[in-house]
């Protein structure tokens, strides 16, 4: 086996284990930490598959951005407000049925998938290519996201503004 496929197997196993742990644990804070580990390993998977830039973006967006905010939120509600945030597992059997069905669907889909002629993409100069593509072919999506983020920023500062008497 190639070293990258060994890495893939190990990392995929860790992702699966992390996800199960995430579902089982009752402590919401542990769940958030496990989620971070899962995100980090997924980033590692991207790097193993040669998509270095996507992997790092995964760290920036999910681990660094979203997750820190989630953890912050949990912490503030738990220790400062004085009550414990806990989860427990309800409706285990329906949940297992739904997730099993979904898993079956995914396996089926991936097995019957025809990817077509895929060409080997060279790993050189991906960053300039991403940059050029962002402001030429995908300029509309880029601008739409920029406006969305601007709206979010303005919204955040409006909410945070102290009300005048």
């Amino acid at each position: 086996m190639e070293i990258s496929s060994i890495g893939t197997v190990i990392m995929a196993g860790m992702v699966a284990a992390g996800c199960i742990g995430l579902a089982i644990t009752k402590n919401l804070f542990y769940a958030a930490i496990t989620l971070m580990m899962v995100f980090l390993i997924v980033a590692g998977l991207y790097v193993v598959w040669g998509a270095e830039f996507v992997g790092i973006s995964q760290i920036v967006v999910y681990v660094g951005g979203v997750l820190v905010l989630i953890v912050f939120g949990i912490l503030l509600t738990q220790r400062i407000q004085g009550y414990k945030v806990e989860t427990s597992n309800y409706r285990i059997i329906p949940g297992l049925i739904v997730s099993g069905a979904f898993f079956y669907m995914l396996v089926n889909l991936i097995n019957n998938l025809s990817i077509g002629n895929h060409t080997e993409i060279s790993n050189e100069d991906t960053v300039p290519q991403i940059g050029v593509n962002l402001v030429t072919e995908n300029i509309l999506a880029f601008e739409a996201i920029a406006i969305l983020l601007l709206v979010a920023l303005i919204g955040a500062s409006t909410i945070a503004k102290p009300e005048k008497e």
């Binding site: 804070f29 930490i33 971070m36 270095e52 920036v60 681990v63 660094g64 912490l75 503030l76 960053v127």
Partner: protein
């Protein structure tokens, strides 16, 4: 590989001497002598302190979350130390040489926020939690001006690879360099090298951006005047209040590691990396004499010498700032980041973009 073989032992030795230097600098600023007893001129004081620290009992508070409490210092150190993986040391040693190097560094280093958060939370102590909250609010806020100032240097260099960025800033550059980056001036500095081809002089508007970078990096490594997270007089020790002995040592190690990391990054991005500051003047080819050959021993020695002299100079500035300025208030800290540093760095970014057009 170089990271473990070179930076790990280097970091350990650096911390011992940085703590000593910190005490001496603080003593000279305050017109004292500093540590004088242990070893010649007090040189072994930190070693003695280290030995004492290692013997301390590893205590976990009863009401603390044991597993997370023990994990947190390692998480902080891992996040900071991973950042070293992509730093070049000399012209022949590029580190991991990733194409998106600096992006990776900023991503992975920002994860130490999580370690601090876990440390503060799992201690189950109000002071620790306050410290952690202040620290996170501060680090997330100051990541914005830090990132913007780094983008300024990236825009001038047109690459995310730190080694490529380093090569551009000296006499080994592939492309032609002009004075202040302006091609129309027609003064070719490619062969002159030295300080004239450093990023701060390739685009002079990087100088204010470098100052912003320096300020933000002080905040990122929780140094005075931005040391609110651990302000001893108010919060005991901030997020590491409950940590004893070795685990406290690991936290301090990552703090000094962060200092070294941001200083290295500052000298690579703005101050010419491992390139010599001395230019070639006519037949007095100072730059050639003090650069060596890339890949050969002379190149390694000169490269590492220049890179670490610049880094240690920046660390000295950080120490001077620590013992000169008083601590900011929380609201001043936030105002300073969001109302001054961020808008100014965005404006400078715009100017740098225009400047880059002059360089083509």
């Amino acid at each position: 590989m170089y990271t473990f073989l070179f930076y790990l032992p280097f970091l350990l030795i650096f911390v011992v001497f940085a703590v000593y230097a910190e005490r001496k600098v603080s003593a000279f600023v305050q017109d004292r002598m500093g540590p004088m007893e242990v070893g010649y001129y007090g040189l072994l004081q930190t070693v003695a302190d280290l030995l004492k620290m290692l013997q301390k009992e590893d205590i976990v508070p009863k009401a603390a979350d044991k597993r997370l409490f023990q994990l947190a210092p390692l998480l902080i150190f891992a996040a900071v130390f991973t950042g070293y993986a992509i730093l070049p040391i000399t012209s022949g040693v590029a580190g991991a040489g990733m194409e998106s190097g600096i992006y990776f560094l900023l991503a992975i280093v920002s994860l130490d926020v999580l370690g601090i958060l876990i440390a503060g939370w799992s201690s189950n102590n109000k002071f620790a939690l306050f410290g952690a909250m202040r620290s996170i609010a501060q680090m997330i806020s100051y990541e914005v001006p830090l990132g913007l100032s780094v983008i300024g240097a990236i825009m001038i260099s047109q690459t995310l690879d730190l080694q490529e960025m380093s090569f551009q800033q000296g006499i080994f550059s592939d492309s032609a360099n002009y004075l202040f980056g302006i091609k129309a001036l027609g003064i070719d500095t490619t062969d002159i090298g030295g300080i004239l081809t450093w990023n701060i002089l390739r685009a002079p508007f990087l100088i204010p951006l470098f100052i912003i970078f320096f300020i933000a990096s002080l905040a990122e490594s929780n140094r005075t005047p931005f040391d609110l997270p651990e302000s001893e007089s108010e919060l005991i020790g901030g997020f590491h209040t409950e940590y004893p002995g070795f685990r406290w040592g690991v936290i301090m190690l990552s703090e000094y590691g962060m200092m070294l990391l941001v200083s290295l990054l500052g000298s690579i991005l703005f101050l010419g990396s491992w390139n010599t500051p001395l230019p070639n003047i006519g037949s007095v080819t100072l730059a050639d004499w003090t650069s060596g050959t890339p890949g050969a021993t002379s190149g390694h020695v000169w490269g590492a010498f220049w890179l670490f002299s610049k880094t240690f100079f920046l660390i000295f500035l950080q120490m001077m700032a620590r013992w000169t300025y008083p601590r900011l208030r929380v609201d001043q800290l936030m105002n300073f980041s969001w109302k001054y540093l961020t808008p100014i760095s965005i404006l400078l970014l715009l100017i740098n973009g225009l400047w880059r057009m002059l360089m083509i």
